[in-house]
């Protein structure tokens, strides 16, 4: 039997954010967003991790993982390079969010707004019903991707 998950609690920064790695690439795109609770309030004691392929759609052991804490506004931020498509899927980031109040992390995927055709053909995006919470918004020189833990526009979360 697997070891059960427990929440990261409110004090995880001493163990996990000393080693945050929000800069996956020195230059590249900024991926940012807010973690929000069921009342639409920011979740400052959250942490977001991402995992992605490189530009050619290859997963490498030493590239593509990132970790960002959240500020008082619940905002996380990464600098990275846009991945290529993987296994016939549209380019995407795997996004895992931990927080006080989450007894286990929530897993989602972030897709890119400039990939209309690939997104339409993506086997996951086209099989989730409403994919809108999974596609980032193009903002002012950056991509915005909010993670809504609960509520009317709750983000689509996955199991494996």
């Amino acid at each position: 039997m697997r070891t059960p998950s427990q929440t990261v609690g409110p004090f995880f920064s001493i163990g996990l954010l000393e080693h945050s790695a929000s800069e996956i690439s020195e230059v590249g795109i900024v991926v940012t967003g807010r973690v929000l609770d069921g009342a639409g309030e920011p979740v400052p004691d959250a942490m977001v991790e991402i995992w992605q392929a490189d530009e050619d759609g290859r997963y490498l052991p030493d590239f593509g993982w990132g970790r960002s804490g959240c500020d008082d506004d619940g905002r996380f931020s990464f600098v990275t390079r846009k991945p290529g498509g993987v296994d016939g899927q549209a380019p995407h980031l795997m996004v895992l969010t931990f927080a006080r109040g989450l007894l286990k992390p929530v897993l989602t995927r972030m897709y890119f707004p400039d990939e209309e055709q690939a997104n339409a053909e993506d086997p996951v995006l086209s099989a989730v019903g409403d994919p809108s919470t999974l596609i980032a918004r193009a903002g002012d020189g950056r991509l915005e991707f909010d993670i809504r833990l609960q509520g009317e526009d709750e983000t689509v979360f996955f199991a494996v």
Partner: protein, 237 residues
């Protein structure tokens, strides 16, 4: 959508050893836990791969929380060791484990912690290590104290160490808490009790171990960690 694809299968939350997202006794889950069904992802390389951390990412003394300052921390010195296994029971080598904890008085070295217990200038309470080729890990630290929180009147957390583990795949990620045997606070703690299956709760409790106890120096506790999620063959590098 340009073609019609069968919807992803949905999974009922709260099945298996993991706690559910919504566990009302732990008040913070009420607004933070998702309520919609989870959708089951296919196992592509996105699900089956994960970062690999090399030896350069861990310092020589990072596993020893009693040697990070000029003096020694106060408290009961302990050695926590065990193995990291995948869901098929195979050891996971080079797994990065990060831990954090309160000091012996039950106080975290963290600005948000307002518990009026003393800080220990010789204890930060954070460490990390990589498992060896057989999946073994070992930390040296002090036993953390219990501490109060505001979930409900007179709420106290049983003593615990937080652990974060990377398996072979990103989807194997686990963050958990390790508790100590015989703690009288177990029955009152909604975080521990959020795991519904009593057998699964047992997996969160370490065991005293005389073999790893070092004479005249430190008590040994054993804690194995079994990861969930897909466990395919290790990633080729």
């Amino acid at each position: 959508m340009s073609r019609s694809v069968p919807a992803l299968e949905s999974v009922r939350d709260g099945e298996g050893p993991n706690p559910p997202y919504i566990h009302p006794d732990y008040v913070s889950t009420r607004l933070r836990g998702p309520k919609r069904p989870l959708l089951l992802l296919p196992h592509t390389r996105s699900e089956l791969t994960g970062p690999v951390f090399g030896h350069e990412s861990v310092g020589e003394l990072d596993h020893d929380l009693t040697r990070q300052h000029d003096g020694e921390p106060l408290g009961e010195r302990i050695i926590v060791s065990g193995r990291v296994l995948d869901s098929a029971g195979r050891p996971v080598p080079s797994a990065l484990i990060e831990i954090w904890q309160a000091n012996a008085a039950g106080r975290y070295h963290h600005e948000v912690d307002r518990h009026p217990a003393p800080l220990d200038p010789n204890f930060t309470g954070a460490g990390r290590c990589l498992t060896d080729d057989s999946g073994n890990y070992r930390f040296v630290t002090v036993k953390p104290g219990a501490y109060p929180w505001r979930n409900h009147p007179n709420a106290w957390r049983p003593a615990h160490i937080h652990l974060s583990i990377f398996g072979r795949a990103f989807t194997n990620r686990l963050v958990t808490q390790m508790y100590f045997p015989g703690d009288p606070l177990f029955e009152f703690d909604p975080i521990f009790q959020s795991v519904r299956d009593p057998k699964a709760r047992e997996l969160l409790i370490c065991q005293f171990e005389l073999e790893t106890t070092e004479p005249e120096w430190a008590l040994g506790y054993h804690f194995d960690i079994v990861l969930g999620g897909p466990a395919e063959t290790p990633m080729e590098t």
